[in-house]
């Protein structure tokens, strides 16, 4: 019994400690620039000031266009990756591609190389073929980077579907494409959702590719914009606007994460960080 109480005490104390930076973020994003001073950092803010800061972020910074374009990237690219990944898993497991595991392994190894290894040629190639600083270019690269993990999960998931499902459909005269879209994809909805959410979060939070492959404010995702805001406004009173921007760009992933915690848990068990 006492050991249980000690466990609660330790966890709650640590939890409060962990929430302090979040508290500081909220408290200082909720202060008007005029109210903000170095001496009242720990004081709570007020809601009208937060609203005014949000208005400031939307009217004086590039963050709104960044949010808009990032939503597009974070929806379309993971969607493409999930479908392509499911196709890969389907080819290996259901259609029994010859040397399927080898080709699957070739795709899977894409997750092993750090992105740093690819960005220099990608930057050069994108500049050459006119994909640098384009929405299409960003969607393409995000889809490819998300593909290995989704192929990994979907292959594992399809491996759990009984072979007789496929054989029965073939006997009924269904073509592989129909079996894929009418049977395999609907059966694996939960896995598709897990992969989609994890990859959408990854795209949303990406900084490196966004920083290197984009330039203009219409194309640039929101994370490099936030960082640029920091180097311009860091220090002084504009911290309130910067912190509000950090809060705004974090809300979508935090919500997604909170609403789908059990999906995340399942996805994490599969090895994605």
């Amino acid at each position: 019994m006492t050991s249980k109480i000690i466990r609660y005490v330790i966890l709650i104390a640590m939890g409060i400690l962990w929430l302090l930076p979040i508290y500081l973020l909220l408290a200082n994003a909720s202060k008007l620039t005029s109210e903000y001073s170095g001496s009242n950092l720990w004081a709570p803010g007020n809601f009208p000031a937060l609203v005014s800061n949000i208005v400031d972020v939307f009217t004086t910074t590039d963050v709104p266009s960044g949010l808009f374009i990032t939503v597009i990237y974070a929806v379309i690219a993971p969607f493409i990756a999930v479908i392509l990944g499911a196709a890969v898993g389907y080819a290996v497991i259901a259609l029994k591609l010859k040397h399927g595991f080898f080709w699957f392994f070739v795709i899977f190894c894409g997750t092993v190389f750090p992105l740093q290894l690819m960005v220099i040629p990608l930057f050069a190639a994108y500049s050459q073929v006119g994909l640098f600083d384009t929405a299409v270019g960003m969607i393409l690269i995000y889809s490819v980077v998300c593909l290995p993990f989704s192929a990994f999960v979907m292959r594992n998931f399809f491996a759990g579907i009984a072979e007789s499902v496929f054989e029965a459909a073939v006997v009924d005269g269904a073509k592989p494409w129909r079996i894929f879209t009418q049977i395999y994809l609907p059966m694996s909805r939960s896995a598709l959702v897990v992969v989609f959410i994890l990859q959408a979060t990854w795209v949303w939070n990406d900084f490196l590719l966004a920083l290197i492959l984009t330039q203009s404010s219409e194309i640039r995702p929101v994370m490099p914009m936030l960082q640029a805001l920091q180097s311009v406004q860091g220090g002084g009173s504009a911290f309130t606007v910067l912190l509000t921007a950090a809060l705004l760009v974090s809300i979508p992933t935090a919500l997604l994460f909170g609403l789908s915690q059990k999906y995340f848990q399942r996805g994490l068990a599969l090895g994605q960080y």
Binding site: V88, F113, P114, I120, P224, L256
Partner: protein
Amino acid sequence: MPARTARQRDAWAFMGPGVAVVLLALYIPVLYTVYLSFTEYDGLGDPTWIGVDNYVEMFHDPAILLSIVNTLAWVLGTLIVPVGLGLLVAYLAYGLRGAAWLRVPFLIPYALSGVAVGVIFSFVLQNGGALSQALAFLNLPGSELRWLQDAPLNTIVMILAASWQGVGVNALLFTVGLQSIPKEPLEAARVDGAGGFRLFASMVWPLLRPTTTIVVGLSIVNSLKTFDIVQSMTQGGPNRVSETLGVTMYRETFLNNEYGMGSAVAIFLTVITVAASLIYLRRQLSLGDAAPKTDAAPKGARRA
């Protein structure tokens, strides 16, 4: 026979696009980076072949050597703090009523991006900022420290910021691992009077081995690639003292226009990362293979 070849053709129709885009967008760039690492190239004109000069120079450049040391500090730091605390949180919360709620404070930071974490901690750690004020208020030493200006203090506090973000996900992974441990041996040990640390050391820790391997492997691989938090908090500065290899590669290539050197740094980083990945890659793939074996067992003849 024809049916089988038709099946193979269909299979390639599904596999082809995935293989094609991965080869085109991931493998070819990798090969080109390998080539660039043996050249001198400023992004204009043509690369000049210089053999291994970049690699030799790399290990004589004090800034890059410091960057390697910092990267190793990141690997060690994120291995000890977030993995250790993640295990602590998972183990303490396991089996408690409301465990899911107790873990929430640790999960919120995980949903944030590296840049957002960087913004928050740059704010907390500014000179005379929230942390310094709190230390002064509590009469603790340290309020006069310049957290982000002085090395190695800046690297240490950035590792702690990354740890703040990383504990939650490790706790989740360890929780999943704990849930998969069979209950009977634990109960038996408890009946025999084992408890607390002894129970953990003799029973739980060995049974958690598979999870620990994955968590440690992921932690090493991810810390080697550290870029976002450092780039957004110190940009590797001041005077390149807090650079990690990820930041060094970015600086050499895109700020100094030393494409060859940037590539060499990227290759060096990759060789270590791939070596570290091998620790957990095998286990990850064997986890994947476990599924068909158990599921196909009743109708296993076909597979075998």
